[in-house]
């Protein structure tokens, strides 16, 4: 298997997704199945090939560094799970 349970545990941690210990084995098998299928890419000769990073070859445009939007904290905070006095309320970050 390409991906063992320790790797799944590590990747789930990196992705900030809680996975129960009981699920790790089956997830490892599932993800390994997908990665093994993906490994056929190694058959392709890509020596000297420039990686393709965007779907169309255009230069990214520059714009003036100006404020064009904003100034409505109430509208933005309306979707917050918790908000108070014009701020997002988040769990304690610093002990």
């Amino acid at each position: 298997m390409t991906i063992d349970t320790a790797t799944v545990r590590k990747v789930a941690k990196l992705a900030r997704i809680r996975e129960d210990e009981s699920r790790l084995d089956s997830l490892a098998a599932e993800l390994s199945g997908i990665m093994d299928w993906i490994d056929q890419l190694n058959e392709v000769d890509t020596d000297g090939v420039e990686p393709m990073t965007s779907a169309v070859a255009v230069r990214l445009p520059m714009r003036e560094d100006l404020v064009t939007d904003g100034g409505d904290p109430d509208e933005i905070l309306a979707n917050a799970p918790a908000a108070r006095s014009g701020f997002f309320v988040v769990p304690k970050v610093v002990e």
């Binding site: 997704i17 299928w37 917050a80």
Partner: protein
């Protein structure tokens, strides 16, 4: 089904303009049809009040002689498009009751041109899926049934709600998005027309991001001309999306019906895959004959890296998704699951909020981007992507468009492919290449299979040459005589 919901967008617009029908009557008829079609589960939110209000304004504008090109046309919006003041979920639990304070550019263009919003359409969560079974709101049921059985079939995905709503005549058209085939495969499964335009043709601003270098918006519609009408309004440069192309929008509608005599059409031999059902082969052969009859020259071409498109996609798309979906952390919008520490809040929120397929893809994305694997997977996939794009470039040196089947099968049963992720991924085998290369492609109904289910043909064009594939799609549509409409069993 009332006469009003049986109209095409084109005929409805003509009737509105001639004042034979009012926008309010048209909206009312569609809202009634939507209510009767609830067993299809195509809508996740019906916006009846807003629809009636928009229709009233449309009638005023028509009376005042200031009607837009889509004035009074009732349409549905895939729930991946953010709509100001109207809940937008992306088919996910994690967004909760998110109500965007802004409007996506594509829907803004549609409202500017007079379209009327009927509601938000069901979809696979974050547009990840090929059967609509990954929606937090449950699967959409295909309006089409096999003549052999009444078992529920998938409308395809991820734009399953869009395709089902159009096929069931409960909207005159719908917005959709396509990252690996999510407009074209559902169009093929439902006897509708769906076009994914050139990457950059439609702004991605306000469309919930899945894989940013592949995502493109486009319409699903009843006819080729209807899809051209919708795409004309949806397209256009937008400074808010840096990948939006600063080019003029051609008159796509005028391209439908244009002669295709003398065009060279390539048939890529690598699309003839092992185990392809004979009915798909026959459909493809019919398509070739129809284009020859219209005066096209049909030639064999080779796209040698075709088989590597799906595996490359399943590195690139999950990698981009794992990055894009990092924003769902339970802090600024959507659901939050309380826990002891900040990290545990993130982990619990994302575990609760994301469905299984989305988690699977985030994990794959995080894995292929993690230290030590980046070159072996992500960089390799980007190089293979270049090879695939080069294949198309070479083919388009000698042909004007390519003809292929849209999907390797007709609509399958709900539950048939859910146990094997790779079997589900293979649905996109003919569509995903185009997303990697950024090219436009359209799916048009090519007829019915022996079980009476629709099958689609796909035309692929050069970058920014939607017009040629619109012209060719019009020819195929006329020759095939359309897929017809499913029996409205849901309204019985």
């Amino acid at each position: 089904m009332s006469d009003l919901t049986g109209l095409t967008l084109e005929t409805a617009l003509a009737d509105l303009k001639a004042r034979r029908v009012s926008a309010v009557e048209l909206a009312r008829a569609h809202l009634d049809a939507i209510e009767r079609a609830r067993p299809l589960n195509a809508f996740v939110l019906e916006t009846a009040e807003r629809a009636m209000e928009m229709a009233r304004i449309s009638d005023e504008r028509i009376a005042a002689g200031s009607a837009g090109p889509l004035e009074g046309a009732p349409i549905g919006v895939k729930d991946l498009f953010c709509t100001r003041g109207v809940r937008s979920t992306a088919g996910s639990r994690i967004l909760g009751e998110f109500v965007p304070p802004y409007e996506s550019t594509v829907t803004e263009h549609l409202w500017r041109d007079g379209a009327v919003m009927l509601g938000k359409l069901n979809m696979d969560e974050f547009a990840m899926g090929s059967s609509n079974e990954n929606s937090a709101f449950g699967p959409v049921v295909n309006p089409w049934r096999s003549s052999a059985s009444n078992r529920p079939l998938t409308p395809g995905g991820s734009s399953g709600g869009s395709a089902a709503a159009v096929a069931a005549d409960i909207v005159l058209g719908a917005t959709a998005t396509d990252t690996g085939g999510s407009i074209r495969q559902p169009a093929s499964f439902t006897g509708t027309v769906g076009i994914k335009p050139t990457y950059g043709r439609c702004s991605r601003w306000g469309v919930v991001a899945f894989a940013s270098s592949l995502d493109q918006a486009g319409p699903i519609a009843k006819t080729v001309k209807d899809s051209a009408l919708l795409l004309r309004s949806m397209s256009g440069h937008d400074p808010k999306d840096s990948t939006s192309l600063p080019v003029d929008v051609p008159d796509f509608v005028a391209a439908v019906g244009r002669s295709v005599r003398g065009l060279r059409i390539g048939v890529p031999r690598e699309y003839r895959v092992e185990g392809m059902p004979p009915e798909i082969e026959a459909l493809w052969a019919r398509g070739v004959e129809w284009l020859k009859d219209a005066g096209c020259e049909v030639v064999d071409v080779s796209l040698p890296h075709t088989r590597y498109a799906l595996p490359a996609y399943y590195i690139i798309a999950p990698a981009e998704a794992s990055s894009n979906l990092a924003r769902y952390d339970g802090m600024r919008y959507g659901i939050r699951v309380e826990a002891d520490s900040l990290d545990e809040v993130y982990e619990a929120t994302r575990a609760e909020g994301f469905g299984e397929e989305v988690k699977r893809r985030i994990l794959i994305g995080a894995y292929v981007l993690s230290a030590g694997y980046y070159d072996a997977y992500y960089l390799k996939a980007q190089k293979v992507r270049r090879r695939i794009a080069d294949d198309f470039d070479r083919a388009f040196e000698t042909v004007d468009a390519l003809l292929t089947p849209t999907a390797p099968s007709a609509a399958f049963g709900l539950g048939d492919n859910t146990s094997d992720p790779i079997a589900m991924y293979l649905n996109d085998i003919f569509t995903v290449t185009v997303n990697l290369a950024g090219l436009p492609a359209i799916s048009v109904p090519g007829g019915l299979d022996a079980a009476g289910l629709p099958l689609g043909l796909q035309l692929i064009g050069r970058a920014l040459d939607e017009e040629t594939i619109f012209s060719l799609a019009g020819v195929l549509e006329t020759a095939a005589g359309g897929a017809g409409r499913p029996q409205p069993w849901w309204a019985a």
